[in-house]
Amino acid sequence: MKLTINGAEHEVDAPPDMPLLWVLRDLLGLTGTKFGCGLAQCGACTVHVDGAPRRSCVTPVSAAAGKAITTIEGLSPDGRHPAQRAWAELDVVQCGYCQSGQIMSAAALLAAKPAPTDADIDAAMTGNICRCGTYQRIRAAVHRAATLAKGGVS
């Protein structure tokens, strides 16, 4: 099976119903995408498939074949996506385990809605659990990322 991940082609030997999450993590070594629940309940495994946020723990790898898959490792070449810059500015992370998924959800939201409201953030981010409770800073960082993106500076 051919997969396009972060712009690169990969040939993987995986059963078609194997979740994309485990193909990424265990077959390809892309461990930035996290396992949290296996049921699309926590969002730690969020990646982009053709630009849309997807819970990779319940996405069969076959459903992602031939599409453009983006993981946290490929969100930006230098870790300076506006969301990442905002996350750093506002000191969002704590344990950090959920943050790949949070940032991927936020990046997808920002791509769809460059100036999200609080209600947009609630709608887009409520599927991402953070047990450390960094939600307040995530909300502020999404707004900040929107501003940074508007500035157009990389």
Binding site: G38, V92, R131, T134
Partner: protein, 717 residues
């Protein structure tokens, strides 16, 4: 007043230096690699002690004796070293230390992270480590410059004397040849440049790019993954199993029996998980197959009606209750709770000749090391524990039985291969080691002035400590201090002439453990709700009532007054909302919170929380604010959503859909105000949790007239 019969956590910590000697003897690791002062050759780093290295490239690598699990110790401990070293902050690097005796907790005597102790317990040791390194570098510079050390000053990684300057990296080789000074003076706090300054986390870059290494992310060639089938009931055992179908799954390599169940070992998680699901196991369910949390609640209720072991006692309570102008009686209850950290439990083990290597996110390195040694037949110093980042801990990764570590060692041993044992979320939620359920009953008598004159209080719930290595130190006269902390030593009781706090510690077969804020997670809810009940009965404002009761408790009053001032307590809340307040001391710090709450469609909604915190010297105010926000969110999960139910011995909840936790759309606006203080540092990681549930419950009572005495708070439909 009769002295209390059990030491509080703080008393334990105060006297810890004495008793930790016992812990050291118990857990000592003879011959383990010690970090003797190195004798580096030129080009090698300066290693003045076990806690830092200064490289010839000017980098300062700080070795953490504690585990980073979100609480920010990755930044706070380097701040202590950098302060005294006058380091260039941009040159600081951080690593978790290996498990070794030199990294034993300065109070508990074993390498561990817990009890909100990391910053204060290292406050002297890490500053000393930095000061020692600075003294060596200054001495080396003085020799090079031909001046006295006293003529040198240091600034951002450079030693300066007159026009002469030398970077630390240039001085490393010469400094490494010098004997470290026996004593070094520490800075006067007025000269601090780093301590007290809001400082951004050092672990952010790797945590926002997916590069951070959690236990789950450990990989190396030949590493297999295991998923274990464990009994559906606590204490159950495998009677027999058929692995035929499991072995037919592509990628499954081995199926092995381990003491905790049956492990399916495979090339990757998915195969191991499918293999585990395909196992046919006949279980001997053992003695707990009839466990039922509703029946346990009834049992606890019956016990609460009988006298327990006294934890605090003064005066004649029965007599005083009889004479009281008014009495209030109430029962409170809280459920079993899972920690449910975002990273499910996992542990990687490689056993080789004379060596066992462990990679995991753990809060209890020394115990993990000792148990792994017992299982493998090695000496503890032959067990290498490599601590990764923890994807949340909250106490779950500080297990006296090292359950997830020892099981992984058993799996690697039985499979005769390097194995990463991974738990699913369901395994985590079903896996036990819960915050115990508790039931409280209180009968309180008020005098004619409305203030309490008699307080009778019984706590019922499982002991966390009995049967652990901590029992001899923390269970005294039948009282597990963690069951009653925050109640029996509450400031209110100290001034009530007649009081008695009793404890019943029934055994149930359900494994229990500390859960962020431990006993305070229930006692604060009960005590601070009761105080509001009393204020209401006395017809007083809850803040004025607390001020009257806490008049001799300066730091409680300080946070209470700050929180209510910032929350605008005297002003009317926005339409449809009410405010509730709570104040609680835990882990050597004081927190007060005012919650602004509404009820929408029968659902409790928390809009805003104003938090005041007095944690003594505020080492990193940025982290303190973050930990208060975090504690409030964690506490709100328990206040509004989380509960485990057990029926026929089986835990009914399984994943985040039914074991609910707080989500983005429910997060209130949190404002944190830090009380300026020169008191010695207290804890931070857990202190924000206790006040939030009672603050919310108190607001709900104002709003609806209904006093909710059970967590999670649920309005009757």
């Amino acid at each position: 007043m009769k002295a209390v019969t059990a030491p509080s956590r703080r008393e334990f910590l105060k006297t810890g230096a004495l008793i930790s000697g016992g812990l050291v003897i118990g857990f000592v690791i003879p011959g383990a690699k010690r970090f003797a002062v190195a004798q580096p050759r030129p080009g090698r780093p300066l290693v003045p002690n076990a806690f830092l290295r200064v490289g010839s490239d000017d980098t300062v690598t700080v070795l953490l004796a504690h585990s980073e699990m979100g609480q920010g110790i990755w930044t706070a401990l380097p701040m202590l070293i950098a302060e005294e070293l006058d380091a260039d902050w941009s040159k600081i690097r951080v690593e978790h230390a290996e498990a070794a005796p030199v990294y034993a907790h300065t109070v508990f005597g074993m390498q561990m992270t817990g009890g909100s102790t990391s910053t204060w317990s290292e406050f002297d040791r890490y500053r000393q480590a930095g000061a020692t390194a600075r003294a060596l570098l200054v001495q080396a510079a003085a020799q090079r410059f031909g001046v006295k050390p006293a003529d040198c000053r240091t600034e951002k990684g450079v030693v300066i004397a007159g026009n002469q300057r030398a970077r630390y990296g240039e001085l490393v080789a010469a400094a490494a040849k010098l004997p470290p000074p026996k004593t070094v003076p520490l800075k006067d706090p007025k000269d601090w440049k780093i301590i007290g300054k809001p400082t951004k986390r050092l672990d952010t870059p790797e945590k926002i790019t997916g590069r951070a290494q959690f236990g789950m992310d450990v990989r190396f060639p030949g590493l297999l993954t295991a998923v274990v089938a464990r009994p559906p009931v606590f204490g159950g055992k495998v009677r027999s199993f058929d692995a035929t179908a499991a072995k037919a799954i592509p990628g499954v390599r081995k199926v092995v029996r381990v003491p905790t169940g049956v492990a399916v070992v495979a090339d990757h998680f998915w195969a191991a998980k499918l293999g585990r699901d395909a196992l046919k196991i006949e279980w001997d369910l053992g003695p707990n197959a009839g466990l039922d949390s509703t029946a346990l609640r009834e049992q606890f209720r019956r016990l609460a009606g009988t006298p327990g072991t006294p934890a605090a006692e003064a005066g004649n309570v029965a007599d005083a209750l009889g004479k009281a102008a008014k009495t209030i009686e109430a029962e409170y209850a809280v459920p079993y709770l899972a920690h449910a950290p975002m990273e499910p439990e996992n542990c990687t083990v490689r056993i080789g000749p004379g060596k066992c290597e462990i990679w995991t996110g753990t809060q209890f390195q020394t115990l993990d090391q000792r148990l792994a040694a017992q299982i493998t037949g090695l000496k503890p110093e032959q067990v290498e524990v490599h601590t990764t980042f923890l994807g949340g801990g909250f106490g779950r990764r500080a297990n006296p039985t090292s359950d997830f570590v020892s099981e992984a060692v058993q799996v690697a041993k039985a499979a005769n291969a390097p194995v990463k044992t991974v738990w699913t979320r369901e395994d985590d939620v079903h896996g036990g080691y819960y915050r115990p359920a508790y039931l409280h009953r209180a009968r309180i008598g008020l005098g004619a002035d409305g203030l309490p004159v008699a307080w009778r209080h019984t706590v019922v719930g499982q002991s966390i400590l009995v049967g652990t290595p901590f029992e001899p130190f923390l269970v005294k006269n039948g009282i597990d201090a963690t069951s009653v902390e925050g109640a029996f030593d509450a400031p209110y009781l100290k001034d009530i002439p007649n009081h008695r706090v009793d404890l019943h510690s029934p055994k149930t077969g359900i494994p229990v453990l500390w859960w962020r804020s431990v006993g305070h997670s229930h006692t604060a809810f009960v005590m601070e709700s009761l105080i509001d009940e009393l204020a209401q009965a006395a017809g007083k404002d809850p803040v004025e009532y607390r001020r009257a009761l806490l008049k001799n408790h300066r730091r409680h009053l300080g946070v209470l007054n700050l929180a209510v001032e910032k929350a605008g307590w005297g002003r009317r809340p926005p339409q449809g909302r009410a405010r509730g307040v709570a104040v609680h001391e835990s882990f050597g710090s004081f927190a007060a919170q005012v919650a602004e709450v509404s009820v929408e469609d029968g659902r409790i909604r928390v809009h805003r929380v104003v938090c005041a915190i007095d944690c003594g010297i505020a080492v990193n105010p940025e982290t303190i604010a973050a930990q208060m926000e975090s504690g409030i969110a964690f506490g709100l999960s328990a206040a509004l959503h989380s509960a485990l139910h057990i029926k026929d011995g089986r835990v009914q909840e399984s994943n985040y859909h039914d074991y609910r936790v707080l989500r983005m759309n429910e997060m209130p606006v949190v404002e944190v105000h830090i009380v300026p203080s020169t008191e010695k540092p207290g804890g931070i990681g857990e202190v924000g949790v206790p006040p939030i549930a009672p603050a919310v419950a108190n607001a709900v009572a104002v709003l609806t007239g209904q006093r909710l005495r059970e967590l999670p708070l649920t309005l009757p439909t």
